[in-house]
Structures are given as structure tokens and as C-alpha cells.
Point group: C2
């Protein structure tokens, strides 16, 4: 049976993707709003099994690029995501068979749902990270030699930019300055690739995992179960900390939302604190007693202590009682090539990556 994204399960997708978004990937609110409007108008979106894409057909991921902090305040006009998408199709002279999320994240999993609904094409049950990362080249497709360009970029003022770059790191560089020039955020269509390439290089079935996570958290609430416990079972994750947010330092740097949060321990974490560093996404969690308890590319997510709802980095607020969880990343990221792209050293941390399951005492 073909799975569908409907007005009924859209929130589950958004919640689950925000959990996988590990603090980044944008606030789900605006993306969900856009997807809801589009589904209301055009009907449900087909969630396409990666096995069902013809080998030669084109999949074009669509996404928001920029500091999510900005995106919350700078509302999209509505058409710039389809503008960017259709401009890329025109440029390539080939229609896309489907769209896809470049990353799992509140906004960047729901924006492609809106695009799919508007253009009446399917959304592939896959993404390029299995989580969210801050930079364009940080997708498993980069390791598979797939180019981020031609990339099409559009803003709400009607400007558009196309890139053809020598490698995906240059694509990141040009796209980032363009997003800053466009006011801090923009919509992009990028990493066009075939069905065959997708099956080989993307992270498969991550959208249905997101829906399952969202459903788990939602039903746990109504069943009076512990949503965090249920989430950890589903994702092979670990509880890292529980406490109250004591302090959040936040700044926009080079187009990114960068900062640190300090969480004051409660319950079994009483007397300790956790420092959480982020660049759009949570990067490293340091326990005042135990040292590093999780780092990129493993997932670190902050949840509301009561409801289990995920909190993005821009939602972190003083006094909020939270639980912090860690989840193992996709196996592709644990290779040497994967760690070169997204390991702690790429983000200027002088630490070796240790898989989260080895860091638990």
C-alpha cells in the first residue's frame, strides 16, 4: 500500500523530523503551515518507496538554506520554493519525477512536502543526512560523487541565482553568501540525481521513520507512557541529561545560528550541568562530570521534559525543563569519508569521534 502524507499525519512527520533534526533543520511551524495549505489545495502527497523510482528518473531535493533563526521571522512569500524547483527543471531540461528532503528537520522535511503537493509529484521516503547538518556538502550523496550543482536559489523578492561549481564545498560557499545577501535565508533546489543513484547513496526510509517517531511521541502522551522512553526504544538512543536551561548564548555568524546552552541538572543529574554547543544543529554535549557524552555525527536532541516534544536550537529558552537524548547516526557517517565531512574535527573540535553507544557508562 502506498503511504500518504495527509492533513492527519502531517504533524507526526513534522515532530519526528524535528527530533531527527537534532536542534536544526528549521522550526517546523512555518514548514507545516506551508505543507498544510498545499495539501488542502492539492490533496495528499504520495510518500514514494525508494524502490519504486525508475532508475533513470530524476529526483530533485528542495530545501530552505540559511539561519533558521532568520527564517522564523522572515516569512516566505510562498512561491519561492517552487520557483527554485521549477527553475532548476527548466535549466536541466528535464522534469523531476519526485522531490525529496535534503535533511531530516522540522522545516526542511516539511518544505519538500509543500513543494510535492504544489507540483503534484511524490516525495521520496529518503533524505541526504538521516538528521540535519548545517552545510550544503554534508550529505551522503557527496560521498557518492553526486554534485550539489546545478543549484537553483530563490528569495521572496523574486531574485534567483544558479550555481555550477567545481565541487560541493564551493557550492556551499556560494550558496551561503547568496543566502546572506538574500536576507539570511532562501529556498534552493539542489543535488538532482537519478532513482538508481538515490538507492545507492541516499539515506532510505527516513521520512517514514520520522512519521513513526512523531506518532510514538503523540500516542505516548495519550497513553500516559513516557514519550522519551518510547523514542529511545525506537531509535536505539540514550538519555543524556535532564535539567533546566540555565543560559543560552546565541549569535548569527556567517549565516549560521551559532551558540551554546547550559543545562542545570535535575533528578538523577542533580549537581551536574550539561553544555550543548550548536551551529544550526547541536554538535557536542559535554557533561560537567563525564565529559563529552555525544558528538556529531551522532544525533543530540533536546525534548520538553513533560511532553517529549522536540525543541530546536532557536527554541531553547531560560528556565525550560528539558531532557536531552542522543541517537546513533546513519552508518555512512561513521566511515572515514563520513567523518571527514561531518566529524567533530570538521567543526573545529579537537576530539576524536566516539560512537555514542561507547560513550555511555
Amino acid at each position: 500500500m502506498t503511504e500518504q502524507i495527509t492533513l492527519d499525519n502531517l504533524d507526526d512527520f513534522a515532530t519526528g523530523a524535528t527530533v531527527l533534526g537534532t536542534g536544526g533543520g528549521g522550526d517546523p511551524y512555518i514548514g507545516t503551515l506551508m505543507a498544510r495549505q498545499a495539501i488542502k489545495k492539492h490533496g495528499p502527497v504520495e510518500l514514494l518507496d525508494p524502490e519504486d523510482i525508475p532508475a533513470d528518473e530524476l529526483v530533485v531535493p528542495s530545501a530552505m538554506l540559511g539561519a533558521p533563526t532568520v527564517m522564523v521571522e522572515k516569512l516566505p512569500r510562498g512561491s519561492e520554493s517552487t520557483d527554485a524547483f521549477e527553475a532548476l527543471e527548466t535549466y536541466m531540461g528535464q522534469e523531476a519525477y519526485a522531490t525529496m528532503s535534503i535533511e531530516a528537520g522540522g522545516l526542511n522535511s516539511t518544505v519538500p512536502i509543500a513543494v510535492a503537493a504544489e507540483l503534484e509529484i511524490p516525495l521520496v521516503d529518503a533524505d541526504g543526512m538521516g538528521r540535519a547538518f548545517p552545510e550544503v556538502q554534508m550529505v551522503t550523496m557527496t560521498m557518492g560523487g553526486i554534485s550539489a550543482t546545478p543549484m537553483s536559489i530563490a528569495d521572496e523578492k523574486g531574485n534567483s541565482v544558479f550555481l555550477e561549481t567545481q565541487d560541493n564545498q564551493w557550492a556551499e560557499q556560494f550558496a551561503r553568501t547568496t543566502s546572506i545577501e538574500m536576507g539570511g535565508s532562501c529556498m534552493i533546489a539542489t543535488y538532482a540525481h537519478t532513482g538508481a543513484e538515490l538507492r545507492e547513496h541516499a539515506i532510505l526510509n527516513s521520512m517514514s521513520l520520522a512519521r513513526e517517531i512523531g506518532e510514538t511521541i503523540r500516542t505516548a502522551k495519550t497513553d500516559s507512557a513516557d514519550p522519551v522512553e518510547e523514542l529511545l526504544k525506537l531509535t536505539d538512543g540514550f538519555e543524556l541529561f535532564e535539567g533546566k536551561i540555565l543560559d543560552v548564548e546565541r549569535r548569527t555568524e556567517g549565516g549560521f545560528a551559532v551558540g551554546e546552552a547550559t543545562i542545570d541538572g535535575m533528578q538523577s543529574y542533580e549537581g551536574r550541568s550539561l553544555q550543548l554547543d550548536f551551529q544550526n544543529e547541536n554538535l557536542v554535549a559535554r557533561d560537567s562530570e563525564r565529559g563529552v557524552v555525544a558528538s556529531v555525527p551522532d544525533l543530540i536532541t533536546v525534548l520538553d521534559a513533560e511532553t517529549g516534544d522536540p525543541i530546536t536550537t532557536e527554541g531553547l529558552q531560560y528556565g525550560h525543563r528539558v531532557r536531552v537524548v542522543g541517537m546513533p547516526c546513519a552508518e555512512q557517517w561513521r566511515t572515514d569519508a563520513g567523518l571527514d565531512l561531518v566529524g567533530p574535527r570538521y567543526f573545529d573540535y579537537d576530539i576524536d569521534y566516539k560512537p555514542i553507544e561507547n560513550l555511555q557508562s
Copy 2:
């Protein structure tokens, strides 16, 4: 008879364009080198009379964008100017009938000669400024409602960027950041327009004027005539100053070469000094006794006191004995719309534009 650009008269074009370049438009050396190589390989370039372009045919100007200071040190790979040009043709789905200089200037009048030779198409005897200006939107075509985009931008590393913007000011903004990202300079193809539009909105016959200026300075030297006097006769210009360069302040700011030169008076200017402000091009000349003696959009050019050879802003050096001349700009720039685009107030000077002929005592 069709006029041609050959190995014999190329230097005249370059010298004359550098005079019109009013300090900017790039050093002629690299552009002349590129044009010389291309003419050697492909033969002379036809200098096309604007009247001879079919009304519907496409003219695509090509240019270097960035701080000329950088361009002197960052050698082009050679193919990026034709890369940018051909990418724009592909994007527009129409071949260009001819290319053209976007501005008169040492580099930006010779780069299109190289492109014309390489692609074996004519160069139109026209440009968009009748001089050089620092920003993309500062062409007479902007007043004619012609769009700078689609614009194609290429660098020596093989990266390329296309822009489609809401107006020419946005094109400037995106192109400028891209040029910075590309290392400070890049090649562009922009302002595609038809033969009919060219005749209505461009500045006509400026390339043959450049050749005439170059020829005048060259022959004055061999005839032991005063090259500066001859130049002023040809261009209805005025001598503004003569002296030795005392000081040059120079910095790269936002992708521009910005600075001031102070010239210590000699001969009839003894006891006075001239301050020359520039942003890629010379903007305002202030005599210590007489105040402003010339300002944008009129042309201010520094010449070697002996040879009459033009000196670009990046060539200004301590101790150099120079003569400074001023020449009236094209009539289009003296309209309200023209002064809005390129008058002194646009460059943050709190002065009203006065035509250079009214500033002479």
C-alpha cells in the same frame, strides 16, 4: 569600409579606453595580452557600426567584475570570459550576434575584444557608460529599462553563477558578493539586448573614439607635440592640475579599490595640491585653492606628465609626475535619471553635480 581591431591598432584602443576609463576599468596590460593572443590565433576583430546590427539580433556585453587591484595579481585562466559568455547564450537559447564593452576602460574594453576574437563575432562600436563606473547598474541601458540579468558569472576555477534579479541594483549586489567569493574578480556576461535597443540606449561610437584618443597620444609623442593638449582638443576637455604624487591611500572595501591620492602642485599649480578620491574610478578632484574642479559623472583622468599615457588608480605611485585632465561625460548622464544613478550624491558626496565646463575659471 569596415573598421577592424588588429595587432597594429590594439594598443591605441587600449590606451584610449584607459583614458576614458578615468582611473578604473582595469589595467590594460592583462586585457591587451588576452586580446593579442586571441587576435593572433583567430585574426582581426570587426568593429561593428551600431547602425549595422539587425534590430532583433542579440548583443551580449562581456566584462571583468571586481577590484582591478586584484585582477592585476590574479591571472585569468583564459577561458572564463568565453565560459561566461557561452553559458549565457545557452541559458537564453539564442546565439549572440556580437559582443560589446560594458564600459570604456583598459581591461573592460580589451576583454570583449578577446571574447570577440575567440568566438569570431564582431565587437560593437559602443559601450554602456562612455567611461568606466564601479557598479553593475551604472550603465545607460539601466535608464532604458534593460535588465542586467540573466547574468552569467565565471571564475578561473571553473565555478559559474547565474543571476535573475528583480532589478539592476540587486544584480550589482549579488554579482559583487559573488566576485568577492570568487577571490575578488570574475568574468561576466550581462545586459543582453537587441540591436534596436542598443541604438536607443547605449553610448555609440565610443570604441572608435578610444582608438582615436590612443592614436592621438601615440602620434603626439613622435611628432613632439603635447599629447595632453591634443587629447583635450579631441575630447573638449580641461587640464585640471599638474604635479607630483605625494601620497596614495588605498584599500579594498566591499570588493572595490577605494582610496585617495594627494598631488603636490608644480609649474603653474605650484603651492597648491589636488586631492583625488576614487572607488575603482576617480570620483572627485579637489583643488586646495579652488575646491571641487571636477566630479562624477564627468571624467577625471591622470596622465604621465611626459608621455601623456593614462595611469589607472592602481598605478598611482609616490613621486610620479602627472597631469590631471577632466572631460565632459555623455549627455545621458547629465539628466536627473543619470545623476540619480552616478551623480556625486550616489557616492555619498554632499555636493551637487556641476558640469565640468562650468567649474573652470
